[in-house]
Symmetry: C2
Amino acid sequence: MGRYVYDFAEGNKDQKDLLGGKGANLAEMTRLGLPVPPGFTITTEACRAYLADGREPDSLGEEIDRHLALLEQTMGRTLGDPDDPLLVSVRSGAKFSMPGMMDTVLNIGLNDRSVEGLVRQSGGNERFAWDSYRRLLSMFGETVLGVHKDAFEDEIDRLKAERGAGSDLDLTADDLRELTRAYERTIREHTGRDFPQDPREQLALAVRAVFDSWNTERATIYRRRERIPTDLGTAVNVGTMVFGNGGMDSGTGVAFTRDPATGAQGVYGDYLQNAQGEDVVAGIRNTVPLHDLETIDKACFDQLMDIMATLEHHYRDLCDIEFTIEHGKLWMLQTRVGKRTAQAAFRIAVELVDEGLIDMDEALQRVTGAQLATLMFPQFNSEHERHLLGRGMNASPGAAVGKAVFDSTTAAEWAARGEDVILVRRETNPDDLKGMVAATGILTSRGGKTSHAAVVARGMGRTCVCGAESLDVDVKARRFTTSDGTVVSEGDVISINGTTGEVWQGEVPVMASHVVRHFEGDTSTDEATVRAVARVMDHADKRRRLGVHANADTPDDAARARRFGAQGIGLCRTEHMFLGDRRELVEHFIIAETKEEHDAALDALLPLQRKDFLGIFEAMDGLPVTVRLIDPPLHEFLPDMTDLAVLVAHEDDAGQADSKHHKMLEAVKRMHEQNPMLGLRGVRLGIAMPGLFAMQTRAILEAAAERMTAGGDPRPEIMVPLVATAEEFELVRAEIEKVAAEVNEEAGFEVPYAVGTMIELPRAVLAADSIAKTAQFFSFGTNDLTQMTWGFSRDDVESSFFSAYLDKGIFPVSPFETLDRDGVGALVRYAVEKGRAVRPDLHLGVCGEHGGDPESIHFFDEVGLDYVSCSPFRVPVARLEAGRASAG
Amino acid sequence: MGRYVYDFAEGNKDQKDLLGGKGANLAEMTRLGLPVPPGFTITTEACRAYLADGREPDSLGEEIDRHLALLEQTMGRTLGDPDDPLLVSVRSGAKFSMPGMMDTVLNIGLNDRSVEGLVRQSGGNERFAWDSYRRLLSMFGETVLGVHKDAFEDEIDRLKAERGAGSDLDLTADDLRELTRAYERTIREHTGRDFPQDPREQLALAVRAVFDSWNTERATIYRRRERIPTDLGTAVNVGTMVFGNGGMDSGTGVAFTRDPATGAQGVYGDYLQNAQGEDVVAGIRNTVPLHDLETIDKACFDQLMDIMATLEHHYRDLCDIEFTIEHGKLWMLQTRVGKRTAQAAFRIAVELVDEGLIDMDEALQRVTGAQLATLMFPQFNSEHERHLLGRGMNASPGAAVGKAVFDSTTAAEWAARGEDVILVRRETNPDDLKGMVAATGILTSRGGKTSHAAVVARGMGRTCVCGAESLDVDVKARRFTTSDGTVVSEGDVISINGTTGEVWQGEVPVMASHVVRHFEGDTSTDEATVRAVARVMDHADKRRRLGVHANADTPDDAARARRFGAQGIGLCRTEHMFLGDRRELVEHFIIAETKEEHDAALDALLPLQRKDFLGIFEAMDGLPVTVRLIDPPLHEFLPDMTDLAVLVAHEDDAGQADSKHHKMLEAVKRMHEQNPMLGLRGVRLGIAMPGLFAMQTRAILEAAAERMTAGGDPRPEIMVPLVATAEEFELVRAEIEKVAAEVNEEAGFEVPYAVGTMIELPRAVLAADSIAKTAQFFSFGTNDLTQMTWGFSRDDVESSFFSAYLDKGIFPVSPFETLDRDGVGALVRYAVEKGRAVRPDLHLGVCGEHGGDPESIHFFDEVGLDYVSCSPFRVPVARLEAGRASAG
């Protein structure tokens, strides 16, 4: 049988598993000799035992009694003493901070008798004592007994109305006594029982309520989403109450050891005289800057400064602190490593290095790729004067400016004529997809971060603010109204900030990111953040084992990727080269009826493709360029079947039958597939449509030969998509070798190249060993691999059931965003092992979207891939995370 | 260094790996003291060494010389001797009989000088000697030197025309000498070299040609298809020539130790006097029944009868024999276990048991599920007089009768009004699918067994004859013409036999299979085959470990499955219950806009579903019925989008806009998915559309309760489709438990049930251990699992690239037909292991099409599944194969 209770003086900051985050840090401060109100922590182990057995462990009550007795002895007061009562707070504290759990009950120990003792303790401050008691009643009633807080608020509102009181502060001691009685009645009415007068019962019930709150639905879903193990349990902290609201020589505050917004050195915080923490949160009065405390109470201020310096050195990081001053005595209520903005994270990390507190490896762990990505989005110019229309959730980052439109069709039409539009809807559904694609930003008044709008916008990389509830959207009238009555009609310009959730009237100028300007080679931006980012990136590059390549299909994209640090092209998609003015040639190829027509179309495409590759090889001179042979179903290049059928129907009805359209419709119907993603595509195209892959191979190698003749250093790698078996790969590889021999013959010299395959089907994973016998490289296509492994396509499901799945925590995050380690990840690991066993120097990379996702990059490092490939814009993020993975 | 040559007297029948099939059997006969022309076998090892090094092993030539010298000594003749030459044949003989490889060169040892010796040997038969020489030249020219056989046929045709000869037999010795010269010229012109006069060189080149033929494209593809390892190599048999064409006291024949067509006891065969084996094949003259040999040459006949009895006892099976009589002396040229019809296979197996040659376990190995399936197809009544229109390939078995139609639209229209139609096309393409679905049979004049028509017809279970090349199909004129000028026009009745490939004029009465009548309980059919099948099936049932369940969705299907021996329903699909007159209710449910409409639709469906289950539980009383909750995408129940859009367009153009159609089109568009197979279906429906699974669960359990009240014994098992993670399953399982508790409460007693899941996504395989924690059973949905693992859908690809894949041997067989052991099979095995590790009594089955496929059944037995489930018609096949798997 374990021990379930620890005095604050017994633990330390490394015992978060046992004591929870809050308890461990209280113990640490106590250990450092800082002024922490004495108390004790009931361990997570006690909680786990309670949850497993449905009742408290036998010894728990006794242990609490013992520690409470010690506390009473230390404080010289007794819980419930009618003359000089000890009051305690009960706070939950799990290992990870977790919304949805019960938070705090203050002033435990008050009852109808001890409240009089509190009057005496406070030097006769009746108002303070009754205010404390009625606060206990409402907090206990709400969080322990489950009475809705409106029931208490109704009472206080009624009383204030009766008394003509403007604020709580206008209520007298008598008023508050009356309110206490009213709260007692409320509890009786709602729960059928009286508020427990026995302070021990108050404490025991509060502790149990914290335990129970571990399993609320909100907490459960939160854990599932954040991948927090469900069996950790929470600790409970019982601490002596100190009061910041006992007079002007008291007060409460929060403080940071550096500015969490900018990372600038120097303390930073707020202070509120004669108040308790909850008053600060409620915002009843305005706080003053922390530095004003120096003039209010120099001794406390100096002591606080010393303590903050101690804590920062001790934690070697920005600390976030809560404190209270009770009649001129400083008490530390909480500390923890503080949250910070992305900008601050980079600056603090490198400045801590300069201050000798941490080394660069640790600095690398203090920042994340997600933070870097935030710094790379365009931002609104904050100097600009502007009118805030409202605020919603920061669903998909970035800054977007455009004319408000209220339906998908208008969005598409206006966008087609070159206008930037923001699609404004109450909420979106799949019918709005066309408009979402056309818009530069999306704004909704309903729905959370997992609403349709949010999920789809993130998927498409569109800026999105969702759930801006203060906006009254009237789609029929084509306008929305803000809480201050401002009306925004169709065509009015608005600006939305997907990073903060703010919605602005008019055009807010958008500023390119300083960090991006730096990556682009602009040396004029020398602000602290940019310098910090540059130093961290240098270190990441030094440390990382993973190479970082980019997915780029054009010379421009390739050049940008190179500027961003890409060490090659990991995926050059050739299907994009079949669009635009080449679409007609592709149509000819697809609907060719004779071998002559078929060959003529291929012959016409060859020089165009060659030119495409020439530019890319030039941009990536000396670096590998992995070209994927054409992958998508060919009918993607043909018109939509339903649209065309309707057009033909209308033409026929009008007596204007068009034989070209009829013929095309026939072809489209012939090529139609129920599930194109599972149809004739990838290597199957190459095998079923002779000449196609050979033409592409010839274009690649002829372009390389041309570059070599011009003194260049092209490094083509040819990648076969959608391979399932070694036999398929081998057929195509043989064809590629044949073309290569011809090109070498014509060139008169040897063009170097490699041939490898995508691993994007579970079948290919299972055949990885036999494929590796002849493939020189594998590139994991984790988009398709995720689709096939889970059996859903990104196009189809993100808009249908994904939000339900995220809500219910079936996924913590979309498996298209972060690699599903347990499923798809297991397949990747298997293929790596099987492939390397056959060919130890098999070159391994990944070119799905996951190649730019921080968490996934760590996985790819762990399984030993050689490189990740991602969109040019994600290259710096990948470099950083690859560095963190190696240094971590 | 091994030994590469074995005398026929040295080997035995078990050395097929080393000596090939033919060589091992020749050795066996020699060992038994039967009259085999002496010779020797060059081993497969020699072939492998040759193929690996590109040249014959050093010692091979010397070994051949030594064995040849021995042979010359035995025969008292010398190869190439101008006076009394030894002649030999060279025949390939791999372990498995393999088309596409070089077959035979006869008469090696003849040249311009030894041909005169042969004249002398044959008692001055000049014609015989020159005929033998010219045969050597053409065989050697064609198979060793690669001259096209037309070149030789042109010469003989020219000569016959000059001489006015009707047949080869009309050519004189002089003519044949002249022909020999012409053949020599032909070889020189086509190869630039002379026919080698040196007999040793002839022999060496012929041996090498056999080795090389292992790697011809046709042989390679054949091996890939038949899964014959590519590195086995072939043996080469060199044997003394004996001649059946030296006079009327000579001849050649083939014989079977029983009737290979019916299995009846008693020898059976054909004999041709004064002929060689190739003449029998060429069909120049008619053979006589083997029994006539008794009168022609009683001594030889008696000796042959003795030998055949010896061989059948020795091989304990039907033997297939080739023999030659040379001037009254019998020579055995080959024996092997003979091929037989399905009917014969069963009869022979049980009769060999009765004769004490084998036991029932071995009898079980002598028949196959594929043979049983053949016996279960309806057959044409062979007594009927009829006119054969033509013959094609037996692409998909069965017998079909109907009116000939020549396009898909007509097929669909006529079928819709209740007529049986046979779709006749030159060849089919995906445009013809609608017609193929509507037709009872399909007939094409082009394409092989892997043509579109063949592959699709087999997939759909439609009878199909393809590649009936003698039929001239004129689709525009809507008729076809046969080689005898018969014209069949649209609407004329024809009958096609997919088992034999025959096409008949008019209606041939179709007879139900005797075997099926037996399974159906008809005791009047007592023919030998039926008795044999019944005995084998009894033994299979005794031996098998695997249970056999059926896939059935209606009480009728369930009852039939039970008669066929099913021990439960492994898959009862509920979506079929949503069709027909219920479609409207389902539409209401899908396009419901309010919760009330939604619930009302479900309420209306509940009693209908309950009634469905009631009937099935009744039919399967006392046996498990596994009901799958609804699986397919809901829009499958809505009209086709393109058809509806065209309808609406026409209505609008005609000024007859129909708001109901408009509204439906909107709903269809909203629910449209690019890849429905990868969309909102299965468990996702259950989670995204509350109430649907609960309604189905209620219907199942209420039906079970009703049966129990009536004294029945229902055994419902509820199966959740398309699960990917334990979390999904758990959400649905909890919902099912809740409904079950309600139903139990209402019934007043406990309704027994089990809850389990389909394993049909790779993701589910990888999560099998965590899913098994709460799932009571797994049923492998190998159709979907194959789709997702390979990344192609059966609907889309069987018609596009599958025939190319089968042609190139990428698949030996469609992975939808026979389970892909290396890929999908590995996943099944993994899930079995993971699932059983967590829950040792996890009940495991398979309900994909593979559950009825013989080869796949052996795999499922091997990995330890508890049962297979297949269509009712396949149940006997599965029982048989499950028995073979256990007894094997």
